[in-house]
């Protein structure tokens, strides 16, 4: 093994090369489709295998009745229709958030502010619906979601704007802005918008006409799921069949080259961030109108990080967002079932998720297969 590119990353262009490096990993440097596909599948299988193996070991350490805990952790989501439907429902906002992250990653921008954008989107959707109590349902849902998307888009777009204007690192700025947004939304939920009647730290309930139709009773699964599928198609179309998408991808591959090719690269620091944030805002809105019908304190926390995990597991392919989101929803639902029916706490799912995060970009695992194939078959 020679000491190559890894060590030659210059300090000045470090963050840029970091971004490009990640994009390269995500693209797996096309070596031939079959080999690439096998490497990806093998790598993901190893990643998930290690993560779940660690889950089992962890449960043996933590649980007094490991058999029962493991049963619910793995099969809990399939034990009844309610759990199963709720698992699918939980994957809807995660898929939307993941699609948003994919758009940002594709242009080699980092949006780490998903948490705050989702939460703000949820608040704004609720505020609009509460402000228009008597409106037609369809129109109200449309207006509400549009406002929520605008809120998320503005928060993320701000980081893109700062990057374009002064080169402020969008990774840190989006995280910090989101951190502040979460706390300010908390203020609204527990302060001016708190519902004094319910005992939750939550706003009032939105009008019945705004609640998305349930499609899999008794679970919470609602037509928001259809929206996630539509959005997947839309993002796929945008990325691969429109000029915007083409130029976003060009900027992601090599921003200098894109500029040389006459693309206005400033626009593509802000636009992908706005689209990314808008999808986060939509994710928050769908959770409100589809599931809870109000904003409960910190109820969307965690969806933003899962969105990033989804983008990585889906290898930045929009069509992979929904399967990847279902995977993370399954992990979560299993942890919840294990918490309800046994004696472990729900946060073990964060530990498993962190293992997936650790290994999902590990090139050593992915190159293993391609190397083996090359050795066997030099052609």
């Amino acid at each position: 093994m020679q000491p190559t590119a890894d060590h030659k990353i210059g300090a000045v262009s470090r963050i840029k090369s970091l971004n490009l490096g990640l994009i390269r990993i995500l693209k797996m440097e096309r070596r031939g489709k079959l080999s690439n596909f096998l490497a990806t599948t093998f790598g993901l299988a190893v990643t998930l295998g290690v993560a779940y193996l660690l889950a089992i070991i962890l449960i043996f350490f933590l649980s007094k009745d490991p058999g029962r805990t493991i049963y619910y952790f793995f099969l809990g989501p399939f034990t009844n229709m309610y759990y199963f439907g709720n698992m699918l429902n939980a994957s809807v906002p995660v898929a939307l958030a993941g699609l948003g992250i994919i758009i940002a990653f594709k242009s080699s921008m980092f949006n780490l502010g998903g948490e705050g954008q989702i939460y703000s989107g949820a608040l704004v959707v609720t505020a609009v619906c509460l402000a228009l109590p008597g409106m037609n349902g369809y129109l109200g849902v449309f207006l509400g979601l549009a406002a929520g998307m605008a809120a998320g888009g503005i928060l993320a777009g701000l980081s893109g704007f700062l990057k374009m204007k002064w080169g402020t690192n969008e990774l840190i700025s989006s995280f910090m802005i989101s951190g502040a947004a979460v706390l300010i939304v908390n203020y609204f939920i527990t302060g001016p918008m708190d519902d004094p009647i319910n005992n939750l730290l939550a706003t009032c309930r939105v009008g019945d006409q705004y609640c998305l139709m349930r499609i899999f009773r008794p679970s919470n699964l609602n037509i928001g799921a259809v929206l996630a599928i539509l959005m997947t198609g839309l993002v796929y179309f945008l990325m691969y069949y429109t000029r915007w998408g083409y130029e976003i991808r060009m900027c992601g591959e090599n921003r200098e080259f894109a500029r040389y090719g006459g693309i206005n690269i400033s626009v593509y620091m802000v636009l992908p961030m706005i689209l990314s944030g808008a999808l986060q805002g939509l994710a928050g809105g769908v959770v409100v109108l589809g599931t809870h019908h109000m904003v409960i304190k910190e109820f969307t926390i965690g969806i933003g990080w899962k969105g990033i995990a989804v983008a990585l597991v889906a290898r930045n392919q929009p069509l992979g967002a929904i399967p990847a989101a279902i995977l993370f929803a399954y992990l979560d639902a299993g942890a919840k079932a294990a918490m309800i029916h046994s004696d472990v706490t729900y946060e073990i799912s964060s530990i498993i998720q962190s293992i997936i995060f650790y290994l999902v970009t590990a090139q050593a695992i992915y190159s293993f297969v391609s190397r083996r194939r090359k050795e066997k078959d030099p052609a």
């Binding site: 060590h7 030659k8 990774l171």
Partner: protein, 300 residues
Amino acid sequence: MNENSFMALIHNAIGIMTPFLLAATGGLFTELAGMLNIALEGLMLIGAFFSVVFAATTGSIFLGILLGVLAAVLVSLLFGSISLYLKADIFICGLATNLLASGLTMVLAFQLYGNKGVIRFDNIPALPVLNLPFIQDLPVLGALLSGHNIMVYISWLILIIAAVVIYHTPFGQRIRGTGLGSPTITALGLNPTGYQLKAILISGLTCGLAGAVLTLNLAAFVPNITAGRGWIALVVIYLGNKTPLGILAASFVFGLADSVANFAQGAINIPADFFLAFPYIITVLAMVGYSIWKTHRVKV
């Protein structure tokens, strides 16, 4: 505001800046070694949890800090090994570390204390407060610099050691060489990855200490007690222009901002959430100010 409360403000700021300073000192090593280390937050949280838990179980502050730092170093070893040897993206591994830290501390808190909220420990002795000889007798400086807890002085000592190591030892120069991507490092037959791993372990050590400051001061563990301080430490490194003296100044600015916010919360009625959001907003503004200054400087 009279003179006394002004002095108290500065005195508090010096206490508050300690975790920023410690985390940023370790982060300086990883930054100079050419890595964007966003795991500072998670490493700090690990140090915070384990130091207070071990201090409570052993009854000794010293053992608590030692074992808490050890835990943070172990997690940084995991973080470093995966990103450097399995060639995973260091930024995603940093996210993984932060997620692992918040998950692990919650799971263990639940397992050990059956509680996922604030955990108070009654049997922890307070951090010893030092009065510096000679300096405490100076007119203004004495009141400001003396009478802090021991961790404050340890953080200064570590900063001085770090400055010496970075600028005056072969190890420090090799770390910087690694970060500059200099081919000399490999040409000399040295292993840049090894230096990067050592830098990550150093960041684990100082973040462990930074976390210990947070919980041992309170004698309690609060879920996600770090509350973005690791990220602020990252910004501190940039604002301090990646020099030890710079990060000292930048940490003080954030310490002062927090101290002023504390004071303001007592004096005027601000909702607690705004008060909590204040460090985040200040950090964004400071970052923007820094990048404006930088682009301006480049143009001139």
